[in-house]
């Protein structure tokens, strides 16, 4: 699942070099719209709905992985 998440981030942002430690704002300079866009892509790919409270907490790839795991998302 992590590889898929990373692939989605790379595809949506056009930025390579994303890892589980990547901070979306500090390392990729993403803003809130970029994160919303990534969330939309994740929701479509994993067929889940990520609630807004969880979206606000997303700072890095690890947060995304934890959120999707909590939602029971599968590859």
């Amino acid at each position: 699942m992590l590889e898929k998440i990373i692939a989605i981030i790379i595809a949506e942002t056009g930025q390579p070099g994303v890892s589980v430690q990547t901070d979306l704002v500090r390392d990729l300079q993403l803003n809130s719209f970029d994160i919303v866009n990534i969330v939309a892509a994740l929701e479509e790919t994993f067929d889940v709905e990520i609630n807004v409270r969880s979206i606000r907490k997303i700072r890095n790839v690890k947060d995304i992985l934890a959120t999707l795991t909590e939602l029971g998302a599968h590859e």
Binding site: Q29, F33, N37, A40, V52, R56
Partner: protein, 186 residues
């Protein structure tokens, strides 16, 4: 001090991911150097909703946005919100379904090119209110039935374009005049 700053100040700068706090401090230092602020506030606090403020200068309001390598900040003595976004390919339909009010969705069905101007308007409102993107984001519309940006008794929405050509929207408290003082930080 209820209103430590007169006027509406908009600072822009080049940006890399880690220096937003530095840029804000630079803007505040400039205002203090010009004797427009009594001092540079340092006691940064963050509300439960994530809205930053200064405990040592509570009447000072600011809002920050960045898009790629561009940073912009609005500073005033009353609540403000600002958002910039360069139109680009994105998950527009999914985001529209999830985050926009039905009236906005209907408008975007006819005029999809309005997507980013509506997005920046909505973001500027939730930054102005301090609520951020939350459950209420899709429950309010920034446009009226004719698709015009909809001011309220409490705020006005003002579209603008940065010097680098990035469109955005400012949400200004009704008490603030429209005149914006622009300054570019080195």
């Amino acid at each position: 001090m209820n209103e430590p700053l007169r006027g509406l100040w908009r600072f822009s700068a080049d940006f890399s991911g880690s220096d937003s706090a530095q840029r804000l401090n630079q803007a505040l230092s400039w205002l203090a150097d010009q004797h427009l602020l009594p001092f540079v506030p340092v006691q940064k606090v963050v509300s439960a909703r994530g809205k930053p403020a200064f405990a040592d200068l509570p009447g000072l309001h600011f809002s920050i946005s960045h898009c790629r390598q561009e940073w912009i900040c609005l500073i005033a003595g009353a609540p403000v919100g600002i958002d910039i976004e360069q139109p680009h390919p994105c998950r527009q339909e999914a985001i529209t379904r999830r985050f926009f009010h039905p009236r906005e969705q209907a408008w975007l069905t006819q005029y999809p090119e309005a997507f980013f101007s509506l997005w920046t308007a909505k973001e500027s409102v939730v930054k102005w209110s301090g609520k951020g993107i939350g459950e209420d984001f899709s429950r309010f519309s920034v446009i009226d039935e004719a698709g015009q940006l909809h001011d309220t008794p409490n705020y006005r929405l003002i579209p603008f374009v940065t010097k680098k050509g990035t469109p955005g929207t400012m949400c200004l408290s009704a008490s603030l005049r429209d005149t914006v003082h622009d300054y570019f930080l080195d």
